[in-house]
Symmetry: C2
Subunit: 244 residues, 2 copies
């Protein structure tokens, strides 16, 4: 009802949790932007900027281990930390490794790769982070489809940093006529981004995941992930892996 | 992980959709505030202010009809309109009827009564709306339990007006030490309320449900539902019905 009042509207909606995806996903013909700012989607954008060939996202640690056994380079993170038996997790800095250039990497994370899994039947899935914000917006403009901004959240819960990024995307289209179906979740995210944009880091100072990462001494990662437009690459999921 | 870092924290969380309730509901010992500003929970608060004895919320129209057949006065709303075969829906003005004084009323609505259904196993469910904002906050302070502010939303989707009310509750406790477990969803709702509080009606002017109600000529209901503290009653669910 809410957003299908006019079927000719082009919708831009924010889905605040992968657990809500079935509610927002009403047709296959849409672009889903998967957002996991701290840190999976920021790491993925960094990896492509650094010249990786492909990232194969997998939902479970077992799948990551199976790929590892076949000789793949695999990365895995749970609860903010590298999983035992893996060399790297989802710190963007781990992907600034010349040895990974041209390689395929398998990746499993607490929230980000689970979100990709949930959205798998959508016509197009792309990866969004502050690092490729403008590139994502320009891509969405060109695609001429409804858009779901899918926040990976934290184990099904709402989180601030992913919502802020979603708000940055909605804000980009403010005043344009690209999207006419702006719904409540988009309005709320945009309003929050507009309040926060002067100092994202400060706005997030009380956020749960930022505190969690601070405890893990990942302040450097936080600052890195809040940079805007360090790359113009948009990773796209082809059904198996992410590529550019 | 996020909110169980310290089990001695008293949590105040916002759940933006009944579909996310299982994620936030981690233990029975909590108070769930069901919020459906436009218009179920505003109508319920009004009904008690007007002297109703009990409201029996039911999830389906069939249940409402079954009660009707047994001689109960029943009310039902779907998609913002009164369901055929029922005299009233969820307009607060319908409950300002002297004939309802002392009566039991059965009520089924699109979102509000569904949210109560989802939360049924919680130790306590209460009804929140702007009309009883301060009374709800004082009640929560006294109860000394974790709190989930459950936004009824719109068919599983996020909505602005319920989130704003949740933000008003979080804002009430700003600076106090009553709740120490304030999570991302609460921070976002509070920030939004603080931006909007000067003029709730204006803030909501683009919200989906407000536009829906406007089309249905329910502007008067909207203004009514955005009044703050017109009653100090807090309806509580006893397993079957809501009472004060």
């Amino acid at each position: 009802m809410e957003t299908t009042e006019n079927e000719f509207q082009r919708k831009l909606e924010v889905c605040y949790s992968p657990d809500l995806f079935p509610v927002y996903y009403t047709k296959k013909e849409c672009v889903v932007v998967v957002i996991d700012v701290f840190r999976a989607t920021s790491a993925i954008c960094t990896a492509f900027q650094e010249g990786i060939n492909q990232i194969i996202p997998v939902a479970t640690i077992d799948e990551a281990r199976a790929y590892q056994a076949k000789g793949y380079f695999a990365a895995a993170e749970r609860h903010g930390e590298i999983v035992e038996g893996f060399d790297i997790g989802n710190s963007p800095f781990s992907y600034m490794n010349p040895e990974l250039k041209g390689k395929d990497v398998v990746l499993s994370t607490t929230n980000g790769t689970q979100a990709i899994e949930k959205a798998k039947s959508a016509e197009q899935i792309i990866i969004g982070s502050f690092l490729n914000l403008t590139a994502v917006c320009k891509h969405l403009e060109r695609e001429n489809k409804d858009v779901i901004l899918l926040c990976a959240g934290w184990k099904g819960r709402y989180n601030l940093e992913d919502s802020l990024f979603a708000g940055a995307v909605v804000n980009y289209f403010e005043g344009s006529k690209v999207f006419t179906g702006i719904t409540d979740s988009s309005l709320a995210a945009k309003q929050m981004y507009q309040s926060a944009k002067g100092n994202l880091n400060d706005f997030l100072k009380n956020s749960s995941h930022r505190r969690r990462l601070q405890r893990l001494n990942l302040e450097k990662d936080i600052e890195y992930c809040l940079q805007i437009d360090t790359t113009d690459l948009v990773p796209i999921f082809d059904g198996v892996g992410l590529k550019i």
